[in-house]
Symmetry: none
Subunit: 448 residues, 2 copies
């Protein structure tokens, strides 16, 4: 992002998740990522995620820091009724006020217990205590109300005045919003109460719009090299590259005064990226390779079968994640033991003996045989060495052959992946799905 | 955990994850939770998780704070070759030194590209640049070396001397360790290099030992009810329950002066849990159901085949995640379309017509037929409705039949799962693996 925009007119947010189950690694924090996406939609830049244990001093100190560096602080968790729920008390200490009972919240909590036909434990009364001056945010799904308050942004007393974060923080108060950690309660309260209210108050001069494009078949640096200055920092849209399990994703974030202007910026960059990378780009948003394959099967109306060895069913399993794929995906065979390749798939014994199970001729025969067995238009196969040890013929870990058979032919590609067993299996499955995708692309009518 | 132990003699750690894809919510940070568990094992208390965007000023400022409040700082991400990988530069700025080329790291990177038969892009040279005075941590799986360095813990210049975090921080230097964000690289480097070295240096007065037991077949509250006071807070070991995709995990954390004492505490609790829950407990640590099944196949020396419809290859794929499974797992058939169930698997047409593809008789026939085809001792099958829509006979989303065939018989179980398509597929696969596990348990010699 443009560094200048971080300060001044663009609001910067900190998201704080409270709970020892998070800092101890027992539980994964998914709320902060969700809130980040919601904040970006509102034109607020999430700059810090902070996760804290159920320790009052640590929480108060972190809140004190956050009010200085962020314009908006969203806190999740620590609003329950137990002794280790400390967010209420920490906010009161931060503001230098006491906790006072909020009668409507208490009645709401009593109502909930009454509806469940259970007496309210005395402890739950705690949930209706708010820092004096704070506002309660009603929680339609649970007992804990949220808290909305502002505190003065005390300038950092630190003598190092050149501290970069002290520049441009001219607003006199920081807004703090505390919400329950239960994801369903948090999300409902955010969408119904917090987001509409923030939208009203923000008058953000800029909107942020995000677009993600996914690539397969080229490495991260090769892709970056093809994109020239696109990934240079400070550009608008800013383009970031991330690699996850051999899929390379380009994330574009545009900022502009209006949605239409932001979308136009994204459209221009997407067009350039697609022109530079061509068929390497397979999808956008939540797409994975199997979704791209499913769309192409739909367009070509071709049926498919799979024969898997090294991927052990992963190609079929990923395909069947796509709803409606049963119209095109007939099924497949996992021929895991070499004897099964002969007995069930009918691979000629002489091929297995001459070339070994991990070889191009066997990969091609697997695809051809499974295509016949399932009477499919297309078939894809995998054979390789997932490790941890080389195969009995000494073929190295990570060597993978992908076979592809169609009405008029068969071919094979060889790749070498690195990593652990599960990574090799996953990347081999992606290689197979990608081969299929590239083949289907060539079968589309020329009009595309 | 005891709050007093947070300060003074117990080391406190901050974990910093770097990447705009994390602060923007595009990607979930799983590294910090994993590192927290590893730090606890070493007796180090993780007190802060901080996630930062790819913004040099923000990273430097956060590092500056972390070195003041934490004894140990572990940083993940930002070590890649691209322009937005800024961890190296931020560490150099923090230490007030320049980046210098580390020749052995450069040779390692060149080697990796040479082995892959590709030229090294000039950019990857950046990955061999380290802050002067820092030590490179070799990365056996990737190009980016890790960084180990110490910096003076500058006392906070803040005049508020009562600041709680300034107490007990007597050590003059803070250790910072930067590791790649790729989970496999991070984990391998942690286990082989970082953890052994930290262990040597720490001399912690208390050790924390963790044990995780995994259960399948009972819900979270049913399990909690069977465990009585075990999950009460403040107990030692502390026992936490988490549910993930229908697997319920019990995480025990014991603290004691020695490893032996901690292990004895864990042994006692584990014995109690196993007595209360019996066969519901299927494994520990990183075990998943397929690992329990693989161990039992090894003990019984039985061979296995799979016939999958609703799970689409997921059962086979999970089984083949286990190294060495090819000695027992012959293979399987994904009979996804109903016609494939008849043509490839040979399910009698009258069964399919009379009962429909999603039925107990078809599940049983699938298991029997695949067992014959693969000449296996045992076979497991799945058929069901993954959704989003009911099947053409109106069978509801989430209905799943699991068939099991062995030398002398066949049986079927019916379950109903709730959730989205991928959740139903995953839980159906787990149900199948669990049925197999329970069957194999009964086939063990009575001596167990």
């Amino acid at each position: 992002m443009d560094t200048v925009a971080h300060r001044g007119s663009i609001m910067r947010a900190e998201i704080i998740a409270v709970g020892t189950e998070l800092t101890s690694g027992q539980k994964l924090d998914t709320n902060s990522a969700w809130l980040s996406r919601r904040l970006l939609e509102l034109g607020v830049m999430p700059c810090w995620h902070t996760t804290l244990p159920d320790d009052l001093e640590i929480i108060v100190t972190a809140l004190d820091l956050s009010r200085q560096r962020a314009d908006l602080v969203v806190i999740t968790g620590g609003l329950g009724p137990t002794l280790d729920d400390l967010t209420r008390e920490a906010l009161a200490r931060l503001a230098g006020v006491e906790l006072v009972l909020h009668e409507p919240s208490l009645r709401h909590i009593e109502d909930i217990f009454a509806r469940r036909g259970r007496p309210m434990p005395e402890r739950n009364r705690l949930q209706a205590m708010l820092p004096r001056g704070a506002e309660a945010l009603p929680n339609p799904l649970g007992t804990a109300p949220g808290i909305w308050m502002t505190v003065p942004r005390t300038p950092c007393a630190c003598p190092r005045e050149e501290h970069p974060l002290n520049l441009g923080l001219a607003k006199p108060r920081t807004t703090l919003i505390a919400l329950p950690g239960v994801p369903s309660e948090l999300r409902t309260m955010w969408q119904t109460i917090v987001a509409p209210r923030l939208q009203q108050q923000l008058h953000s001069p800029l909107v942020f719009r995000e677009r993600v494009l996914h690539c397969f078949g080229l490495g991260e640096s090769a892709i970056e090299a093809k994109l020239g200055d696109l990934t240079k920092r400070g550009r608008n849209p800013e383009v970031g590259i991330t690699a996850s399990d051999a899929t390379i994703s380009l994330r574009l974030v545009a900022q502009a005064p209006t949605d239409a202007e932001a979308q136009a910026l994204l459209d221009a960059d997407e067009a350039f990226i697609r022109q530079q990378l061509g068929e390497v780009v397979f999808g956008s948003g939540d797409d994975e390779l199997q979704h791209a394959v499913a769309r192409l099967l739909e367009r070509t109306q071709l049926t498919l079968a799979t024969a898997e060895s090294v991927t052990g069913g992963l190609v079929a399993s990923r395909l069947t994640q796509v709803p409606g794929i049963s119209r095109f995906f007939r099924g497949g065979i996992v021929a895991y033991q070499t004897t099964s390749k002969a007995s069930v798939l009918g691979i000629p014994a002489h091929l297995l003996e001459q070339y070994g199970a991990v070889s191009a001729p066997v990969a091609e025969a697997m695809a051809q045989r499974v295509r016949q067995l399932f009477q499919a238009d297309l078939a894809i196969s995998t054979t390789g060495v997932a490790g941890p040890d080389p195969d009995e013929r000494g073929q190295p870990v990570g060597l993978v052959y992908v076979g592809l058979a169609w009405t008029n032919g068969v071919r094979c590609c060889e790749v070498r992946w690195f990593g652990e067993r599960l990574e090799i299996q996953s990347r081999a499955a992606k290689t197979a799905l990608n081969e299929l995708r590239l083949h289907l692309l060539r079968m589309l009518p020329a009009t595309r």
